[in-house]
Amino acid sequence: MAHKLLGQDFTPHDVVAKVTGEAKYAEDFRAEGMVFARLLSSPYPHARVKSIDATAALKMPGVVGILTPDDVKNPAPPEIPLLTLEPGYVGAPILLIAAEDETTAQDALEKIRIDYEPLPFHVDPLASMHPDKPDARTDGNVGASGVKFQTLKWTREDFANAGTRMPMGKPAQEWTFGDVDAAFAQCKLVLDESFVHSSNSHHSLEPRTAMAYWQNGKCILHVSSQSQSFIAPALAGMIGIPPTDLVLVAEYCGGGFGSKGGAYPLQALPAIFSRKINRPVMMRINRAEEYYHGSARLGFQGQVKLGFAENGKLLAADLYVIQENGACNSFYDFRNAPDALTVLYQPEAMRWRGLPVHANSPIRSAQRGPGYNQMVHIMEPLLDKAARELKIDRLAIRLVNAPDMNSPVGPQRNPVSSCYIKDALQKGAEIFGWQQRLARNGQRNGSKVTAIAVGQAFHPAGFSGFDGLLRILPTGMVHIHTGVGNLGTFSHSSTSRIAAEVLKLNWDDVVIERGDSRRNLPWNIGQFGSNTNFTMARTNFVAATDALAKLKEIAAKRFGGSPDSYDIDGKRVFRKGSPGTGMSYGEAAQRAIQLGGKYDGHELPKDINPMTQVSATAIAGTGLVGVAKDNLPMKGAPSAFAAAFVEIELDTDTGKYVIVEYVGVADCGTVIHPSGLETQIKSGAVQGFGVAGLERIVYDPQNGLPASVGLYQAKPPTYGDVAQRFRVAGVDKPDPSSPLGTKGIGEPLLGCAGSALLCAISEAVGGHAFNRTPVVPDMILNHLAGRPQAHGALQVNCQ
């Protein structure tokens, strides 16, 4: 079907504001009488605060007040406390001081005397499972969403009997499908490998600054957030107010990568502090603090056993994943990981065991492809290893295992909504010239070796059940209300174009209402999990479909006949076959106001969320209101796939490499925004290169101090570290569960690039699988020199 807007490039309205600097982030806002708050954070990885003496600080001229753990209501452990008397990592927030200026606030912090009782700590989840090793918390060591918070230790025998494999004691969660033992018995090749996937920081360019003040009983809160409507209930809960009393402003977000998808405590602190001292409070978080408070991807230690048939088909898999939680409850990457394995490689039988363990390291949260991308970073080089041993082409072994439209995912064996990874692999291979380039794979030029590789990745790509809201004004303009948030991908606009497409609008006729809850936003999911496209396509579709039905009904009421006898185009609704018999959208909107009831939002669907009801009620009477809950049918689990091809030239003298070319292909359904897709493929690749080959997160096991608390220490890629040439493409085949065929793609674009790079490095050094991320120059050099690696086999958070 030819589309008017879909598949066309456009300039999102927020681009100009970002480029010119007009965009206002949380730190840019001011309010009369505003004070600055500074955080006092723990210098210990684990300690008990025995006493706080702020007397001298509070006497300082300009100091306005203090917020301590006694002033906040913390959630039940091990959820992230707002402020704490038992900090579990270096940097855990203990208290806030507010002053007329920021320097005074910082100076005042230095006058505060805290008596700490240092407690045992660790920065290695696997090692901490030993019965003689300390736990990260005093109230338990294992837990996650879906896993009871508990104390669980392994036995000495678990460690003593491990041999060269990872010690594996009792897991916290497990599942099995198929007959795993029988499947392994059929295998021609069995690989049994331990692995480490490092944690890595989110590096959000905008630190998580927040500013708050109170007016007429409402809290006006400026935050840095990927999401808008979705976080309001939880954030209001942290502040202790109903969501209707929260005015949430989050129009721009300087990067989140998953770490700002949900509500987080630092967003609530200025609001609580402002209520206490009755002054607007700005709490700036600086670059260094962002590394303490900004969270990181959950690291993995694990063991995976893979059984292959002679043709490379994966028959059996046995996976054990230990997840580093950080000190507090975080995410469930460990449970996502096996889903990526099941869907991308389709084993006939599989066992998964998982163990989320707390460590005395900062907060962890979802990061672009949580769990799924760690899994492909481990699996893809092992797939290459199997291909080498079975003497199969590395592309061919992926095609042998690749899922199709009816393939199942996860232990539930539910089908995917759509899958074109084979198309992506084949399209990418064609663009890249896989067959031709194989001829120069392994060629040496002095100390430099050329290597080519392929990688792939998967991520779920959507949800359902949220609401859509739009209104057609008497002016003829159409306001699309979107509460999805602004992660920086322009999805707030590209998904709104679904509604515009349904109503056959020109893009100039559309106003996007977003970024501030006072703009009457519907209940939408947050912008995370590669879901925005799929989920918001559906909400905007149902809202526009509702508006379209109302347009036709209004026309039928005016001109007679049934609504079905009417059509739309050119911002008019008219009788089919008689274009002159009809009215403009503006006239229809005016008519809707006159008719009232459901037409102008005075009567609302019963099944929409209370937030949408409030917003729709607020705009009722201003035009024709289209509002509906997404009750569209959905077949299978929305799924996004991506394939990547890379050529590198690795210098065996230095362990360094140049990424000569990168080709990324996305299975993202119908392409909604080509330039947005290109940006996503490239930026995902850049991030993947960083995770696979550069980024550091290091803690000293002696004192728990973090070594990577600056961009130059944590080492995300620079312009000079990325591919010299990028080429991108989309498969551009529709997802049948998405109204216009679109689906999300953001996250696999990291994983396919990271895995392709890891495979290329492995290929360049003779097929050695490091089974570890990142693979950095010293590891490459040690391997090439025949030296042992500096890190222990399963050591984490080290150099």
Partner: protein
């Protein structure tokens, strides 16, 4: 804990060297000299080190620029690294330095950072920068030199209680060029050869250069000795930009035909000071510049190295870079 919040201090912005010297003399240890600020502001904003007064030297025009001297050149200490990299005289005579300057950090930092600052910057040992009470910070331990220490970037030569390394890319290039440092104080000037300017922990565990309170590094003089020699500079870092060296090598060779008549090889990021490979130099003099010489040089380069747990890779890396410096493979300065 890093604070990233600039504290209050008295700020002096002299526009002449005499005024700056008066200030440096009067303030003594209470005066912190700032060139481009790329090292200083980190310390002060993080409040890891304190000072009651800052003397900002950036307004002293006479401390900037490149001048010809008798047979060589003199570079003002406040000359931005970008200008050093792009200066025609430097490029024509001392491409080694131009290349090294161009590999410092990032374009933005090279625009702000100065050659003098790059030479005088403090070590990047993350323990020390993080504010722990190590030897270098006046304490009585080294956190990096332990079995569990995270010491990937640290020294393999010349450790003495402290295992921190020089982070400067230009220091080893200038050492290879036999440069001297011009240091002024109110009492006059003194000229200190690079080999004596940088000091290791065995000499002074609190400071990396011989500059004392009241003194200002005003210029760097490079003699004609190595002008237009065969140069090679190579820096290996994790990232292509905005990163400190895991290891760098500066080489200057004087050739007669294919025979090496004189040689300088100086390494960065392996010791607290630019580390000169005397034995390698001696072995090379009189040899043909060929693969055999490169191999012999590589074999000698790491003699005496004492790697730590996480930096053993520096040994093969040093050997490889020295071999490339001699056989001309890899990235070259000329």
């Amino acid at each position: 804990m890093l604070r990233d919040m600039m504290p209050n201090f008295e700020l002096y912005q002299p526009d002449s060297l005499d005024t700056a010297l008066d200030l440096a003399h009067r303030l003594g240890e209470n005066g912190w000299l700032v060139g481009g600020g790329q090292d200083s502001w980190d310390w002060l904003k993080n409040r890891t080190k304190r000072t009651p007064a800052v003397v900002d030297l950036s307004g002293i025009a006479t401390l900037k620029g490149v001048r010809e001297t008798d047979g060589g050149i003199e570079i003002g200490a406040l000359t931005p690294l970008t200008d050093v990299e792009n200066n025609a005289l430097v490029r024509e005579r001392y491409a080694l330095l131009a290349t090294a300057a161009g590999r410092v950090a990032s374009p933005q930092i090279r625009n702000a950072g100065t050659l003098g600052g790059n030479l005088c910057q403090d070590t990047r040992c993350w323990y020390y920068r993080g504010g722990v009470d190590c030897y270098r910070a006046g304490g009585n331990t080294c956190y990096a030199d332990t079995p569990e220490g995270q010491n990937r970037e640290h020294a393999i030569f010349g450790a003495s209680r402290c295992v921190a390394v020089t982070p400067s890319d230009t220091a080893n290039a200038l050492s290879a060029l036999d440069a001297s440092m011009v240091i002024h104080s109110r009492g006059g000037e003194r000229i200190v050869p690079a080999a004596e300017f940088f000091v290791g922990p065995d000499v002074n565990i609190r400071h990396m250069t011989v500059i004392r309170p009241g003194e200002i590094l005003t210029a760097i003089r490079i003699p004609g000795t190595w002008a237009r020699a065969h140069f090679h500079f190579e820096k290996v870092a994790d990232r292509a930009a905005w990163d400190f060296a895991l290891l760098s090598v500066s080489a200057a060779l004087r050739l007669e035909g294919e025979t090496i008549r004189d040689a300088r090889l100086v390494c960065g990021a392996v010791a607290c000071v630019p580390y000169r490979l005397h034995a390698v130099e001696q072995a090379l003099i009189g040899s043909a510049r060929n693969e055999d010489a490169a191999t012999r040089a590589a074999a000698l380069a790491a003699e005496g190295a004492k790697p730590l747990n996480f930096n053993q890779f520096k040994i093969p890396l040093l050997q490889n870079l020295v071999r490339r410096a001699i056989n001309g493979a890899g990235s070259a300065a000329t």
